[in-house]
Amino acid sequence: MAKKKNKKDAKALNEFLAEAQEIAESLGKNLMLLDNAIKEGDLDPELVNEVFRGMHTLKSLSGTFGVDPLSRIAHYEENLLDQLRLGRIELTPSVLDLLFESVDLVTRILSQVSDVGDNQAADGLPEVEKLLEKLHRLGEKQSENASPTGPPSEAAAPQPELLLESEVFEVLTEYEEHRLRTNIDRGVALYKIHTKFGLESIDEDLDKIKSKLKPLGEIITYLPSAEEGEPDRLEIQIIFALQKNPLDLEEAVDGMDVELERIEAKRQPRSVMSDPPEHIPSADPEDPLAEEIARHTKSAPAALAEPEAEGSRALSLRSVSQTVRVDIRKLDTLMNVVGELAVICSAIARVSEDIRTVLGRRDLTLELHRINRGFERRLAELREGILEVRMVPLTQMLDRLNRMIRKISRDLEKEVNFIVSGAETEVDKLIIEEMSNPMMHIIRNAIDHGIESPQERRAANKPDVGTVALTAYQKGNHVMIEIEDDGKGIDVERIIEVATRRELISEEQARTMTDQEITELIFLPGMSTATETTEISGRGVGMDVVKTHIGTIGGVVEVQSDPGIGTKFMITLPVTLAIIPALLVSIADRVYAVPINTVAEALYIQPENVHQVMGTEAITFRGKTLFLCRLDEFFGFSRGDDKPEDSCVVVASYGHRRLGLVVDGIIGQQDVVIKPLGKSLSRVEVFSGVTDIGDQRLALVLDTARIIEQSQVAKDRVERRVAPVE
């Protein structure tokens, strides 16, 4: 019983984590937008409000689930954001830094809680105290030089109390009042927009009108009221600050059940404040609308009119989301079921064949065959459908990258322009998760080591602002991601120096290597060339980790560098890990699968064409030496003399490296679902998993990259033995 409860708790915690993570992500996204807005000097107050609301939700969520550090951060942040949206604190880049820092910390806390599976896992994190201290200091500093952005023309502008009926004015939240004031100060035309919605469609209708109004100005508030006699319709009045032409507004609401009313913002002397409200047209007691508003505001449904519940009201009025959140493991389970159905499908085909041969019922066989074909087709559709669900656009990862780039470029005082194209390219969710660290590392390196300081750039006739460009696109069964910078490129001399000093290559080797080969040495372990390790690029762990990481998800990373012009990393990724096309080959009557994306070609070889190069078997393939690896020997089969007369070579390529894998025969191509080997086989390196090939039989899937690497090591050893003799 107790166990069951734990399970339930764990499920609730997971749901909380997923939701909190989503909020954190959207907070990060909005902060990036704010950052841009500050740079362009065009701050959308609604955006600040949106961030405030996100933080508010996060606060209540984390409070409910007892994630203490989170709710404390969110609490402080909410206060800070409240001050920001009320204009009491100015949104400067340093304040924004603090906000970014908080979101990063929130993300860290969430992942810690998620890793440990305990809501108290992140309690007592020292960074939390540091951040709270900073937030506290900011608060104190701000209260000293109180209200830096106070309305400059307060005396000249009319007071909002005079423009709206007191009943309406009183229900405005502090924030709404602030926005109203700001708009009046700017002399913006204010409108009251009256509209009626059916109760059923109110969410959608409100969203519709909001989206029409947004481009034209700012919605200060909407106040609901219940129209008597029309119980299923709700009247809403929107107080709107129009920043565009009144004609645009009329056009925007054309065709909608809407009444526009201008609130006259007459520039009155300050003394008017004490005057009776008769002076203000909209508050005229004769005005039926104003009266109605006043009456309806009072009788408005509590849930909608509650001014304190601003955060939750905004949430409830949001459009009903059309998406669901799914744990990716559930999709894995579904994919497995599809795999088994395919196996059943082939079993039915076999039985139908038996019906013909054993029972001689050709008609039944045909019928069964036809039905089975239909089943097969639907199955393929189902599989496609599940695969599609797993696909997410790269945008998810880019938000995180954007945040990181902003931080690094500020830390290093290098301004960087991050240009993205192809953000809509879709990749398996799992791949995106796995790729985010390697991508961060590459981009971090590009900014830290690639992009020069502004002074150096000027000297080299480059614009002060560096560029990092990310291009993503789909190419057949692969997704290509290219990360290019316009920095100084990779210093070949420096690589040689480090590589020889650390005895990764000999001096003879260095002399015979091309620049491209030398550049690729950056992927070797222990090749971090940064003279001093910085906080940004870390130490020790370098591009080798990036390469290994990308390798584990079946990807390949390559590099190109032009001195003085820049560096380009090209990452080739499979679109999905769930199902891949593979070449089935046989070795000593056993079936193995080679992922097609690592196969360049397959050919027959004659024994007489095989020659020895430096003690290793090789053939000449397209004018170049192709080293061979006899998989039967590589796997340690002992099969004496029963070797086949002729064999096939599968030309495997990984990055730009090639190796000829010698197999007995080629069976054909098949889409396979790769399943991981159990934990007990985690030491097995040369197989990336196993796949069902029907009939309850399994085929091991070759990890081509590992095999090339391992046989490369063997080849290098041979070379080293041979080299001194020369």
């Binding site: 340690g636 097995v684 040369v686 091991l700």
Partner: protein, 175 residues
């Protein structure tokens, strides 16, 4: 296909299971609840037992796929209703001569550190329930000694000895 499906599932109270119980015990099925149960099997003619609760199912040996570069006691991987399971040779783990493949034994599916493992045994005999005090541990043993991975033993009848295998320790150390 149905033949491969487990004779019983995780619940030791399963009816299929009691069919295989010793007749005398079946009569006292209710009394059995508190007594330790052991799934018993043979290796090289000797009888062994494992804690009933760790065994998830028993299947006939399915098609085996050998995994190169693994130690000899790992026989390979098998597919059991879509799940890929590592199959180990219990004989070799117990220091007995290796199993010749293919053969007619049975595979016990157990869980070890979150992973399902298949263990090949010669044959499954039955489920035995014994009283706690009948279990002979290292100190109370009158003949011989318990070697590695043997938890305790009990004597269900004249000249009959069942050695209880410490699967947890064995699998954790050997895999």
């Amino acid at each position: 296909m149905p033949k491969d499906i487990s004779l019983y599932d995780q619940h030791p109270e399963n009816k299929e299971l009691s069919k295989r119980s010793v007749p005398g015990d079946a009569a006292n099925a209710a009394a059995d609840a508190g007594r330790p149960g052991f799934l018993c099997f043979t290796l090289e003619g000797d009888e062994y037992g494992v804690d009933l609760h760790v065994v998830q199912e028993i299947v006939k040996p399915p098609a085996l796929t050998w995994v190169p570069t693994t130690p000899p006691h790992i026989l390979g991987v098998v597919s059991i209703r879509g799940a890929v399971i590592t199959l180990v040779d219990l004989r070799q783990l117990m220091g007995l001569p290796p199993t010749a493949w293919p053969r007619t034994g049975r595979v016990l599916i157990v869980e070890n550190e979150g992973e399902r493992i298949g263990m090949l045994v010669d044959a499954v005999t039955l489920v035995r329930r014994v009283d706690e005090e009948e279990l002979e541990t290292g100190t109370s043993l009158d003949t011989g000694e318990l070697t590695d991975y043997m938890l305790c033993l009990f004597r269900p009848g004249e000249d009959q000895v069942v050695v209880v295998v410490d699967l947890d320790t064995m699998l954790s150390e050997k895999l």
